[in-house]
């Protein structure tokens, strides 16, 4: 008896303690962010390839009905090209839903695209079940997310000495100075700090002085004034005895000049490799995209400058981007400018520089898929002023008031075998292009919100109306109206120009079809008949926010079903 009382008391106490514990909740929900995520991720630091892989595995394990991890191929050095497929797997095959493709880090030094892509996968899985909008989104759509498409050189950027701009290419080593040797004279980390910074030297020819108020800063003197220091470039030696320093390191080639639309060789487009998709990384992606015609939107992440970019990459391609598609590009990107504060919507060839063989042009030109590249991080995020890329004075101010010296390697003397006494120092590789930790999460969320808006506007098809009319003689006329509820058409104008993707099919079954046609103008009975296989009408395109009407003359009674099957628009069904 005593024991029973004691036990009961114990249980009561425990329950009370539990209730007390609940009352003493340690967290309070912030709007817009997963409150108690199953997968804990710090979004204020960067992850190596292995770090990204861990998070991707955790997401796939935590949400088996929403996320699947797979490798779409191998990188040059044999790393898996890891992709997360995100969708509500219980509501249909993800490979038949209109899909959004997202990648980051094609340029190995442009690292945060990986974290931003991964944030998207994390957010979508953690918020599923919490928000109606996300539930519906993952019911309708699929996201194919590859955080880094340059995993080898990503790790090189992080683990080995580099500038903020290197390697940029992948890890294939080429002969850059055409002397028959490859990669024999790259950077040298002379001061051993894993950053390649700047070499300066006291010189009677110098036209710089150290700012007496801030010796990190070198000021250019007026033409008639005598300076004290000269710049000698990035840290390095003349390793091959040809009189040049750092002229033949990793690469160089540009993975974003390796794509199969208007590809041009290196003498026209610097950075091009051997031929389109001659790099294993871009080849894997191409093969994946070709095998997934449901991809209707694409986003690639670069840095930096705060831009939402669309093609054409080259002026020579101006005619490729037709008015009707530019209208859609504009509509989505202008919303993006509102969503991502400080970012501007620009066109590559006229606002940036000329690019042949770029990824975004292949997505659009080669596959007819609407694609943007965002240049992540901009000066606006520091002090809400747009001071532009690489503004040294602003960056020094950031380092003084926001990062407290974390961004800069102080000048220090060094005995250089070729230059004599020099000083080495300057901004670290992870400053300037990369977000400081405290600015990452917000910008990741905003960029993700833009891609969600884009994904939302991939086509969504429904059979909104089926009208039936008796024609006598046991004949019926059935007219079905198919509506695309979103901005993006099932076939872009580029797609239609080259018949890149098959037509959409609208079919009727369980009934004898006498004739079938597309109704061009219902009011005046203008139709285009399809003589062969009239039960499966081929519709060339279902434009965004518009309807298409399909008509059959059928004989006999009986119920019928109408099915819509579109590569980029997904499936829709009508049953009586």
């Amino acid at each position: 008896m005593k024991t029973i009382i004691r036990n009961t008391l114990c249980i009561v106490l425990c329950l009370a303690a539990l209730q007390y514990g609940q009352a003493q909740e340690k967290f309070f929900r912030a709007i817009g962010t997963p409150h108690k995520p199953k997968v804990q991720v710090s979004w204020n630091r960067y992850y190596t390839y292995e770090g990204l892989r861990d998070i991707m595995q955790q997401i796939a394990q935590a949400y088996p009905d929403l996320a699947k991890l797979h490798s779409i191929g191998k990188s040059y050095q044999g790393r898996d090209m890891l992709m997360l497929t995100i969708s509500d797997f219980k509501t249909g095959d993800p490979d038949t839903k209109p899909a959004m493709y997202i990648d980051g880090n094609i340029h190995s030094n442009e690292i945060q695209g990986a974290e931003f892509s991964l944030y998207t996968a994390w957010y979508l899985t953690e918020m599923f079940g919490e928000l109606d909008f996300i539930n519906q989104l993952l019911k309708d759509k699929t996201f194919y997310i590859i955080p880094t498409i340059n995993p080898d050189a990503r790790n090189n950027f992080m683990n080995e000495p580099n500038t903020p701009h290197s390697p940029r290419s992948g890890m294939i080593v080429l002969d850059n100075d055409l002397d028959g040797q490859a990669g024999e004279d790259g950077y040298d980390d002379l001061n051993g700090d894993n950053h390649i910074t700047i070499m300066i030297r006291k010189s009677p020819d110098g036209n710089y002085i150290k700012d007496p108020l801030n010796p990190k800063h070198l000021i250019k003197v007026a033409p008639e004034q005598r300076g004290e220091y000269e710049f000698l470039g990035y840290e390095g030696l003349d390793n091959d005895g040809d009189g040049d320093v750092n002229e033949d390191g990793i690469g160089y080639y540009d993975p974003n000049r390796d794509w199969g639309w208007n590809w041009q060789p290196d003498y026209i487009q610097r950075g091009a490799y051997k031929y389109p998709f001659s790099l294993p990384e871009s080849r894997s992606i191409m093969e994946f995209v070709m095998a997934h015609p449901n991809i209707a939107g694409a986003q690639t992440y670069h840095n930096y400058g705060g831009m939402i970019l669309r093609g054409p990459g080259a002026e020579e391609d101006l005619d490729t981007y037709k008015k009707s598609d530019v209208k859609i590009y504009d509509a989505i990107a202008h919303k993006g400018e509102e969503i991502i504060t400080g970012y501007k919507y620009l066109v590559v060839y006229k606002d940036l520089y000329s690019v042949f063989g770029g990824e975004l042009d292949w997505f659009y030109g080669g596959r007819g898929i609407f694609c943007y590249s965002n240049e992540l991080m901009n000066s606006y995020l520091y002090f809400h002023k747009n001071e532009g890329r690489g503004n040294r004075e602003e960056e020094l101010k950031v380092d003084q008031y926001l990062t407290f010296g974390d961004a800069f390697v102080e000048w220090k003397e060094y005995q250089h075998p070729q230059y004599g006494t020099i000083e080495i120092g300057g901004f670290k590789k992870n400053f300037g292009r990369a977000h400081p930790g405290f600015l990452m999460e917000q910008d990741a969320h905003r960029n993700m919100a833009f891609t969600i808006y884009h994904a939302y506007h991939t086509p969504k098809l429904s059979v909104t109306d089926v009208a039936e009319k008796s024609l006598g003689n046991g004949l019926r006329e059935i007219t079905a109206t198919i509506y695309n509820e979103r901005l993006i058409p099932t076939h872009s104008s580029q797609d239609l120009k080259y018949n890149i993707e098959r037509p959409d099919w609208v079919s009727i079954d369980k009934v004898n079809v006498v004739a079938g046609m597309v109704v061009d103008d219902q009011d005046f009975n203008k139709v285009t008949e399809q003589v062969e296989h009239p039960e499966k009408i081929k519709v060339s395109n279902i434009p965004g926010m518009e309807t298409v009407k399909v008509r059959w003359i059928v004989s006999g009674n009986g119920n019928y079903r109408i099915n819509v099957n579109s590569a980029k628009g997904g499936l829709a069904e009508w049953v009586p």
Binding site: L178, G180, G241, G243, G260, W263, Y267, I268, F277, N499
Partner: protein, 545 residues
């Protein structure tokens, strides 16, 4: 003695081959002949770069002697297109004849012979259904309607050949040629001519789209897959450049051989009978579309050499490149000198009327024979009755109650000479290639002088000279990152060089161009000067200080 036997055996082999062979080789025959060639000489090496979808090897026969990677390399390509059967035989015979008749050429030149780059398509020449096939063995959607290969050819008259069919129709666009009513020519609308025939390739409209044989069962054509002016989304070209294994084997290999200097392709394009013309407008654009000015001069020189060796007057040789072809890629994108020739074409047959009168008048009268009629006249002259299939009426399901006839020129009639003609073509082309190698760049050191200075210093001065009619780099190649510069080295460490570096680079040397170089060296002993690149070979000069 051993060599003598080998040579004797080889001569015997060649003679036997010529005596026995009645027709172009099958893929198996090619393999056997390549093996025989490789066995016949220590300077020949056969390797397979991989297999096609049709399970055919892509063969590479390397002909080279010692240090072959550091001599100018010439790429010889046959089978750039499936129907160009002749090119395959020419590439094989070139290898055989070079080893037998001109083995010394290998002392200064290396050859990379790709005898057949379209083996899947080539096989159709020997297949039970014979037709001019372009595509490899993958399936493709040539008409981009969403189905692959759904409208192939059909042999309606059961003769084992795909020829033409003509349908008598008031809507026709063709009429029988006045000079030879077996041949059909386009009705001239400008002259108000009405047509009497619709003309199609032999087959059925399997997919009922009112086009005949527009989506044949074959795949992609090698000679449409290259990156220069790639005809994206066109039939036989595909969705992106270099999509096929054959092309990748080929290009990937070439990128491993920095010594490649020039290409000679056997295929439909021709810049040897008539050289490419320089066009300033095409030259000035960012995407260059004209041969560069200095390279045009070289093309002219090589064209003259070709015409001196291959005495065939050009007739209808207007193909100087089509989008995605190999020959233009080798120059415009790979930066090497590139030459192509069909090697044979049906010659122009003079009509009686044309022999009299002056040439200007002739042109005005437009009494030039239609091409097809010329073919028939030539066939007649050569006694080749079998070139033509007489029109024969058939019942065609797509044209009920209409007169449909199958017939016309046989496949390969215009691209492939009777086999008995091949030997002389092979000899003249081998001679041309041998003559070409004599023009290749040749680096030499001249005027090497040493001058003693005070304190044990020596000044070395030397001219590096390209003693050849051809430059070390094509003008376009000088822009390419895939063609090495000339590297000049002095065998002295940096510490002993008071002036100059252990290595330096020269962009290029033109024909008969020299460059003077100087160094100031500390100390004495032997010094070697080296200059060159793999594609020019290296010149060395040893001197004693």
């Amino acid at each position: 003695m051993k060599t003598l036997y080998a040579s004797l055996f080889y001569c015997l082999f060649l003679t036997c081959h010529a005596l026995w062979a009645q027709d172009y080789p099958t893929n198996n025959d090619i393999h056997k002949r390549l093996q025989d060639i490789a066995k016949s000489s220590k300077n020949a090496n056969l390797s397979s770069l991989g297999t096609t979808e049709g399970n055919q090897d892509i063969w590479l026969l390397t002909l080279g002697s010692d240090n072959q990677d550091q001599k100018p390399g010439i790429v010889i390509v046959g089978g750039t297109e499936g129907p160009h059967v002749l090119g395959v035989e020419l590439a094989l015979q070139f290898a055989e004849r070079l080893l037998a008749d001109h083995p010394n050429v290998l002392e200064h030149t290396t050859f990379y012979v790709f005898p057949n780059m379209s083996p899947d398509a080539y096989a159709q020449y020997h297949a039970s259904l014979k037709y001019e096939r372009l595509g490899n063995a993958i399936t493709s959607d040539h008409d981009r309607d969403g189905s692959k290969g759904e409208d192939p050819y059909e042999d309606l008259n059961g003769d084992g050949l795909i020829t033409q069919m003509r349908v008598k129709s008031a809507l026709g666009t063709y009429i029988p040629a006045a000079e030879d009513n077996r041949m059909l020519v386009k009705a001239d609308r400008a002259k108000g001519e009405a047509g009497t025939y619709l003309v199609y390739t032999e087959g059925i409209d399997n997919d009922k789209d009112h086009q005949w044989n527009e989506d044949p069962a074959e795949g992609i054509a090698f000679n449409k897959t290259f990156t220069y002016k790639f005809p994206i989304f066109e039939p036989f070209a595909g969705d992106y450049a270099v999509s096929q294994k054959e092309t990748r084997y080929f290009i990937d290999y070439l990128f491993t051989q920095p010594n490649i200097y020039a290409f000679i392709c056997f295929g439909p394009e021709n810049n040897l009978s008539t050289p490419l013309a320089y066009n300033k407008q095409g030259n000035d654009k960012k995407i260059i579309s004209s041969i560069l000015e200095e390279d045009a001069t070289v093309n002219k020189m090589i064209s003259d050499l070709y015409n001196a060796n291959v005495k065939a007057k050009p007739y209808k040789q207007t193909n100087q490149g089509t989008g995605g072809d190999l020959f233009q890629w080798a120059y415009f994108h790979f930066g090497r000198f590139s030459f192509s020739t069909p090697a044979w074409w049906i010659p122009e047959i003079k009509t009686e009327a044309k022999e009299g009168g002056d040439s200007k008048e002739k042109k005005d009268k437009e009494d030039v024979l239609p091409y097809e009629v010329n073919v028939m006249k030539w066939a007649e002259q050569e006694g080749l009755q079998e070139l033509f299939v007489p029109w024969q009426p058939i019942a065609h399901p797509d044209f009920p109650n209409q007169t449909v006839e199958v017939g016309g020129l046989k496949p390969f009639a215009t691209t492939t000479p009777p086999f008995r003609m091949v030997d002389s073509i092979a000899i003249s082309h081998t001679n041309f290639i041998v003559e070409f190698t004599k023009l290749q760049p040749k680096l030499e050191w001249h005027n090497v002088r040493t001058q003693k200075l005070d304190g044990g210093l020596v000044r070395i001065t030397a001219d590096i000279y390209n003693n050849a009619p051809l430059p070390t780099h094509s003008q376009l190649g000088s822009k390419s990152r895939w063609l090495q510069k000339l590297k000049v080295s002095i065998s002295k460490p940096q510490e002993q060089l008071v002036a100059g570096n252990p290595t330096q680079l020269i962009d290029h040397l033109k024909a008969y161009e020299k460059k003077t170089l100087t160094w100031i060296v500390k100390g004495s002993g032997n010094v070697t000067l080296t200059a060159g690149a793999p594609h020019t070979a290296y010149a060395t000069n040893a001197l004693k200080l």
